[in-house]
Amino acid sequence: MGNNEYDRIKDRFLLLKKEKRKGLIPFITASDPNIDVFEEILIGLPGSGADFIEIGIPFSDPMADGPSIQLSSRRVLQKKFRLKELFQSVSKLRKTDNITPVILMGYYNPIFTFGIKEFVSRAVRAGVDALIVVDLPPEEADELYQHAINENLHLIFLIAPTTNEQRFSVILEKASGFLYYVSIKGITGTSSANMTEVKEKINFIRTKTSLPVAVGFGIKNAKQAYEFAKYSDVVVVGSAIVDIISKSIKDGEKDFTSLPSKVFSFVHTLSKEVLRSGS
């Protein structure tokens, strides 16, 4: 079997269950705003209340992303981002933290071009636990799925407001770790979700699977994180965190000295609200 000694995702959900609380997944784009500051943020996130860490793999054409994450991808790519540096950053995190699950989220072409088998193997060796490939529906995922199974890497699939009954069986066949509910019809960081719809849909998902359910795409602040955490197991906050980095760049902050603490403080606030929502 694979190289993952143990299942960090499973363990984390067991811990959440034991502590009777919900979890928080902050999202940041790889190497944003530069490799050093990104690594500082990455390594500091678990101590700020991140139960999981989601890292966006920059892509030239991020079709599912709104302006915030588009902008962060573009600035990272301008500095000639390479996947190799992302694997190195995750390896560095693993020196100080070997329990917080790391999820990579990206588009298929960089993975396909890197070599699917090689990508999975390098990611797992670096300490990555799961992969979300936005533009890879289960119907096209056979090859990635095989390699992921071999290496004990979780493939996490999205469930959308449009996902109908028939698609659940197709998705659940390959899904592992948890399911990611996209709370809005739209791209990341744009509109806000309708709470009633989200609640109904997540309840429906629970009738189909015992996998934990994360919710993301439309969560912008601590209040929303609190509300969404009530109905799900974990909440993902992305664009709002990326915006802190964008603002710091826009303000011309020197060497980003105060940026990590701004991110940590926001994540801490989110985490407190998620905690408040209880089990």
Partner: protein, 404 residues
């Protein structure tokens, strides 16, 4: 193929993949919708009433069949093969794009969609989409790269006259690729009432097959016309290839006629040895973008490179997935022509034939200039004149340092 005395329709293969190309690489939000489009299309193309209605609009609204024209002076000029033009530039709206738009708009109506979105490069597909939306009273929003908007002003104004809203896309190279990204983002956000009318034989399944079927009217008509004219099939069919909808429409009905050589001409921009071209097959590798696996211009990290062509309609870093497969199976040969070569062919065709071609087919014509003199005089070459050049006069004037 569904045939009767009134019309024929190319009921092509329905497979979601062409070899390892094609597929449906879209976010989950769109998957149910893509499957719905597929279901609706497969049902429509078996429906006699749908096909009869389409045929009616193709004849009486778009002006089909388009003529087959013997380009006598160009034939004499090159001194080799007989050169024919399939005159798809004479269609309503000035290009082959209307063939596909009529098919898809009837499908969108059948699906009960009220709002149509589309991407456009040169503006030909945008104009054709805005046209059918005006005709059928549907809301129309067009995504167009800011760079393309500035070089295709006449088409932008035409779209506005037709009642469409034109969104300028400023991201990246601000051309067709970014326009398609934005159209996809719009679709994800408006899945309930919106139909995405893709203009080329690319994107997630069923679009490549569907667009090909709707464009195959070009090749079907040609087959009848050339048999009447020459009592035999052509030796060569030539078409320009960006996404490749006019080329696949010309080629598809001839795929099984193995003696007919099929040649697609990509845009070599400033040269294949530079990064400034749009020749995905000649200068790209397989990858995944905009819902399909196909040949793409990209770097070693899988980041898509910006394409370049003087022709906005060819300025795209990918190609339809069936072309990728026809290239790998060697049924179609893909060559390229540069900006400069296309500009020369543009002027030559205007002065010798009295036909101002679009810059897109000027690439194909430029290749004919190399091919025709090298083959016997009894050979027949047919080129798809897929668009007229009115939209390009500003670009060409600029390239020739002529002040309008």
């Amino acid at each position: 193929m569904l045939k009767n005395t009134q019309f024929s329709f190319e009921d092509g293969k329905n497979t979601s993949h062409f070899g390892h190309f094609g597929g449906r690489y879209v976010a989950e939000t769109l998957m149910p919708l893509i499957l719905e489009v597929e279901k609706a299309y497969f049902s429509a193309k078996k429906d006699y009433d749908f096909l009869r209605e389409l045929k009616g609009y193709l004849c009486n609204y778009a002006g089909r069949p388009s003529p087959l024209y013997f380009a006598e002076r160009l034939t004499d000029y090159f001194g080799g093969a007989k050169i024919y033009f399939k005159r798809d530039e004479l269609n309503h709206t000035g290009s082959h794009k209307i063939n596909n738009c009529l098919g898809q708009i009837l499908l969108a109506r059948r699906m009960g969609k009220k709002r149509i979105i589309a991407e456009t490069g040169a503006g030909q597909h945008g104009v054709a989409t805005a046209t059918v939306c005006a005709r059928f009273g549907l809301d129309c929003e067009i995504y167009m790269g800011a760079k393309d908007i500035s070089r295709q002003q006449p088409n932008v104004f035409r779209m506005k006259l037709l009642g469409a809203k034109v969104h300028a896309v400023e991201n990246g190279s601000a051309t067709l690729k970014e326009a398609m990204n934005e159209a996809l983002r719009d679709w994800v956000a408006n899945v309930d009432d919106t139909y995405y009318l893709i203009g080329t034989a690319a994107g997630p399944h069923p679009y490549p097959s569907m667009v090909r079927d709707f464009q195959s009217v070009i090749g079907q008509e040609l087959k009848e016309q050339i048999l009447k004219e020459e009592s035999r099939l052509p030796n060569y069919l030539i078409a320009c290839v960006g996404g490749g909808s006019n080329a696949i429409g010309l080629f598809y009905p001839f795929l099984d006629d193995k003696k007919v050589k099929l040649i697609g001409v990509e845009a070599a921009g400033k040269g294949l040895d530079t990064f400034e071209h749009a020749a995905s097959i000649s200068g790209g590798v397989p990858g995944i973008l905009h819902g399909n696996c196909t040949y793409l211009l990209q770097d070693n990290e899988g980041q898509i490179r910006d394409a370049h062509s003087i022709s906005a309609g060819l300025d795209y870093p990918g190609i339809g997935p069936e072309h990728a497969w026809l290239h790998e199976t060697k049924r179609v040969q893909y060559v390229s022509a540069s900006d400069e070569e296309a500009l020369k062919a543009f002027q030559l065709c205007s002065s010798l034939e009295g036909i101002i071609p679009a810059l897109e087919p000027s690439h194909a014509l430029s290749y004919i200039g190399k091919l025709a003199p090298s083959v016997s005089k009894d050979s027949i070459i047919v080129m798809n004149m897929c668009g007229r050049g009115d939209k390009d006069i500003f670009t060409v004037a600029d390239a020739l340092d002529y002040k309008i």
